[in-house]
Symmetry: C2
């Protein structure tokens, strides 16, 4: 871990060292409330995805607002969440290998733990781990609802796996995992609506096949920040797994908004504060945030409230700032707030959140309220 | 930090958890020796760049083989290196802001510390920090030798900055920083040779201007793994700052090799071991290494010794493995070694190196010799 944090509680905004992962606490809290309110009104459970924030402290705020627990991607993330007080965690992936399965089963003795499967052999391995550790693990059958990544085909294959789970000591059949990742970033509302309508057909087919076998899916989970309104309205999904809404990012901002007025709107709450370290050309400067401070996989960051500037040419620890004609070139030592292209991998690069208050009214008067560890940063196992 | 490491010393290869950052120690040691031997024969100093490995343990091996010290990009990296026993560190960047400058000056009381400048005001700020802390900081004038990133123009501007450094209490003029980053990845030997020839002209102009002012550049530093032979042969540069040679990556492997037989050849020594978590289609599988385990900014990883497989469609924690016609689809639970597209940001995502012996002769008989922390991982400040 780096030898010092970028700020201390009470610091004025201008004393935050760069690059730093800055959270606008006011905006984050509005985002948390907006999603919690939406889920309550829609009558669906909310299980936010911790792969975005990797923080038991933020998880606790989501749960205090009504979330039933957390999703995560990795067993090591589940371990951090459970150690941090979360009592109900779903690993939204397949887990293989004795070491990982034993860790998962051990966690299932400390908290309610769920996991996804799409292979019969994986059910058997989970069963063996649960029996070795004397644990009970909830298992969801993942179905492929269009993403062509993990998951069995809808219908009979899912029923066969569910039967196998039901017959396995130490496992309980939790229901279906029906997540359509690539639909989240389709740009028009109609594309997103149509994708989830098709996914819903796959869910319906599978629920009917399960019912025919006398099986009930207690949970039908899925949805992300781009499509959750459609899953919630479907009458099929009953648990939303949205993650990015807590912070939003520049890529999600490229989605055309849903047309109806009651759709919750989320604000950018996550930034990378960066400093200018060189400005030799008339129309460019160099900042101290590159690939090691920003997740650039879904596009480069946008420079907050500076439409005259754009970010480009990232290297490991540098990025170029290009100045539009008529724009104002930042000077060495000046600092800029970047809205990351993709919040999840950006968070994973940093060890601390610097939580600030009052950013909405500008940097003057804004101060550091908290410095939180990104507790599950690097938890890839 | 994640709650458990991916392996323990003595583990057989098959017990390493995934995804894990695996170092082939035999190959790494050959790379270290090849570069040290080259620098000694060429009569130039070697100051490897720690931004690649972020490890005082690897730095110590480089120094034991003759390196004069280390380069790094950030003050926080310098702090980790110096705490880990490195006695001579050059920050190959401009550093601004009182907090960072004071940290830099404090480190300069513990070890020999250098830094780069390209602005007069930055010289003054460095001088003030050195005086506040009672430290001596070596300062190199960075010149732009073609990368159009940081650095003053060659010639008179560099002389003006050097004069200012000489006149500043607490600072010593160390010479020139003349690094041409984008030349490293030009694909043909002729392109790389011509780029460094042009950069050499900028260095020569500046050295002559310095001499006219009665100033001597003790150090002319630069070069990376793609071009170091040209800098070494120029008679102008006397300190090589190569980093990636220690591990190599898939992007550097796309450079056409230099034609002469005495050019050192480096081997892939760094891998991400990944496990298959789902394999539903006939021609594809899904592995547990995505953007949070791999630096994909310079291209996707190559799958080691599996030309029938390719990596694509990375998500946060997933990657797709595509099987060529006639190839063999890996099964769930199977593990693959990925050669990262870009080693530096990949290393920065992991907390541990899993050092293995005997990988060259295959996985059987290969075992874990050491688990080293990536000590300066996340050191972005």
């Amino acid at each position: 871990m780096p030898p010092f944090p970028p700020a201390r509680p009470g610091d004025p905004f201008d004393r935050i060292d760069t690059p730093a992962l800055v959270v606008d606490l006011d905006a984050m809290e509005r985002n948390l409330t907006a999603m919690a309110t939406f889920a309550a009104r829609a009558g669906v459970r909310l299980r936010p995805h911790a792969k975005t924030h990797k923080s038991p402290l933020i998880a606790a705020r989501q749960i205090a607002l009504g979330a039933v627990g957390q999703c995560c991607q990795k067993v090591s993330e589940a371990a951090v969440l459970i150690e941090g007080g979360v009592r109900d965690v779903l690993v939204t992936n397949q887990i293989w290998g004795t070491a990982k399965l034993d860790r998962l089963a051990a966690l299932a003795r400390q908290a309610k733990v769920g996991v996804c499967v799409d292979e019969a052999a994986n059910v058997d391995a989970l069963c063996a781990a649960a029996e070795r550790l004397g644990a009970t693990i909830e298992v969801l059958v993942e179905i492929d609802v269009g993403g062509r990544r993990c998951g069995v085909d809808p219908g009979a294959d899912a029923v066969a796996l569910a039967r196998r789970i039901v017959a396995s000591p130490g496992l309980t059949f939790g229901g279906l995992q029906a997540y359509f990742g690539t639909a989240q970033h389709r740009r028009t509302p109609a594309e997103r609506r149509d994708a989830i309508a098709a996914a819903g057909q796959a869910v319906r087919t599978t629920l009917e096949a399960l019912a025919g076998a006398g099986l009930v899916a207690r949970t039908v989970g899925g949805a992300g920040t781009g499509t959750f309104r459609h899953e919630a309205a479907s009458g099929l999904w009953n648990e939303l797994q949205t993650g990015s809404y807590v912070f939003m990012d520049a890529d999600y901002a490229l989605n055309e908004p849903d047309p109806d007025n009651d759709a919750p709107r989320f604000e950018h709450a996550l930034f990378v504060l960066t400093g200018v370290l060189s400005a030799r050309g008339a129309d460019r400067a160099v900042v101290d945030a590159g690939h090691k401070a920003l997740g650039n996989d879904s596009g480069f960051p946008v420079i907050w409230r500076r439409p005259d500037l754009s970010y480009s040419r990232p290297a490991d620890e540098h990025g170029a700032i290009l100045v539009s004609p008529g724009g104002s070139r930042p000077a060495p030592g000046e600092r800029l707030l970047l809205v990351p292209g993709h919040c999840d991998p950006t968070v994973n690069l940093h060890d601390w959140y610097v939580g600030v208050r009052g950013l909405g009214s500008g940097r003057d008067g804004c101060h550091v309220e908290c410095v939180w560890p990104v507790a599950a940063r690097g938890a890839v196992l």
